[in-house]
Subunit: 325 residues, 2 copies
Amino acid sequence: VRPDRIRPKGGVVISVSDVGEFGAIARVVARLGQGRGVLVGPGDDAAVVAVPDGRVVASTDLLVEGRHFRRDWSSAYDVGRKAAAQNLADISAMGANPVGLLVGLACPADLPVEWLEELADGLRDECDLVGAAVVGGDLSAGDCVVVAVTALGELAGRAPVTRAGARPGDLVVVAGGLGLAAAGLDLLLAGHSEQPLADAHRRPAVAYQDAMRLAVDYAATSMIDVSDGLVADLGHVAAASGVRIELTASDLPVDPRLEAAAQLLGTDPRSWVAGGGDDHAFAATVPPGSSPPYPVVGRVLAGGPGVVFSDAQPPGAAGHQHFRS
Amino acid sequence: VRPDRIRPKGGVVISVSDVGEFGAIARVVARLGQGRGVLVGPGDDAAVVAVPDGRVVASTDLLVEGRHFRRDWSSAYDVGRKAAAQNLADISAMGANPVGLLVGLACPADLPVEWLEELADGLRDECDLVGAAVVGGDLSAGDCVVVAVTALGELAGRAPVTRAGARPGDLVVVAGGLGLAAAGLDLLLAGHSEQPLADAHRRPAVAYQDAMRLAVDYAATSMIDVSDGLVADLGHVAAASGVRIELTASDLPVDPRLEAAAQLLGTDPRSWVAGGGDDHAFAATVPPGSSPPYPVVGRVLAGGPGVVFSDAQPPGAAGHQHFRS
């Protein structure tokens, strides 16, 4: 709970419809921070942001209530942190510096306006981690809460790190937590809402600086934000690069908290590590001579695209796809 | 009905869940066109788009089913056109050239995948009008259809035309249709779905080139995309510029189709012209010496911000605000 948030007096909940569209937008904008390079910020038809080398990096992701979060499990602040994080991570995975977010929000008219203010706090604080800021947005009535975030970034003259650059001989490394958010979700689903890993579902801790180091200092040939699961996302890299990726299950980093959660739920922690998304770890390929300080979990081989294991593939490694149960 | 769309064989409807997230995305991407300056297009963590002068113009708007469109009134193609148009218009209103769109889409699992393909056709065709292209997006399950579009643009070295530049003495001009979409919606609500103006609700015809002429050739000091209604949106200009705007109701352009619709519904057509949004006309202020070939509807005065009429204010001129009935 943040001390600076506005609490309604006498227990009266002020809804979005009480203050109206423009009143709600004014309250949200009042919570936002200033970003570097923002030439025109919120309040005009469009924002204008500096991207000095003449290229903008841009990505959109949605958070949908009931699919990506539940309001009884996650605070608005958590949803804001997560909505910003998953989009900023996409920019970092290109080796770019995030500079701005645009936030489209649909919500029911009876949503407490305080929920929007705390969402804005979460967006702002996650942006602060990388020096970015919310530069614009849109607010609309809707039957469910949908947070549609677009992140903008700039490359500072560097080439983007795409999914298509992995070459046979490269090493596969991962930076950031793997499987924590998926384990947290399973803990929440099983009723263990007080387990520390539940927070990893609510609010991923993204290793933005490590993505930048992989791109700039360790010459990553490809990189991806792990959102669907390590195996699924490396499958995208293998397909885009036209290579085979061989992982070694015994080299996958298993956080001690995953071991504890797996014991509680009677499952294999490597299922979460190989198949769980939503931590927004970074999986990268680096040239054989590069030695980044991150776990090496596999290597790039020539041959048909796909992900294989040099040892036993963990169960449930295929990862998540929307519209599939 | 477009001849090139894929029809399911034997009347079987193929749903989004039948083809899955990645299958649906592949079908959508196959319908999209190529844009100029797209360095990395759909399929990576983020897109990379050229904005040669080092500034990106960006705006986000949502279309929510049941609020902005109804699937029984509008085809998916119409929704795609409208979703693109309302965002491209925001870029044009800054005097910028639109270059790319990112599209976040939430939809129920049982939505026919053909609906997504036709939506993509609509997005593509509207982008084609201005030389832009869809460069990325996201697809998620959700209980209602939400189309969250972010448009990107570039200024070609010019200053952005904001809402804040109107000066006393400037003339107020409007380019594009006014009140047509609002009249179309009222016709649809009254059951007149075959009236030609109903199409103005389904799919606005945006005067993109006129916005550019106002910015480049006629030195517009301020400009806004009319989405909430002329009076409401000029109120935003007056507030941002710290000026008063005086309109003359008898100078407002009234399309002959509005006269006919007003007779049918027994109302005053100027209500739609002054208060109706969603046509995405452009309202601009130009210096007194500038003579653009568009209707002059008022002038800029010194004094407290606000919009006044030099003659009788049309009824219902206040315009639309979300969450207010």
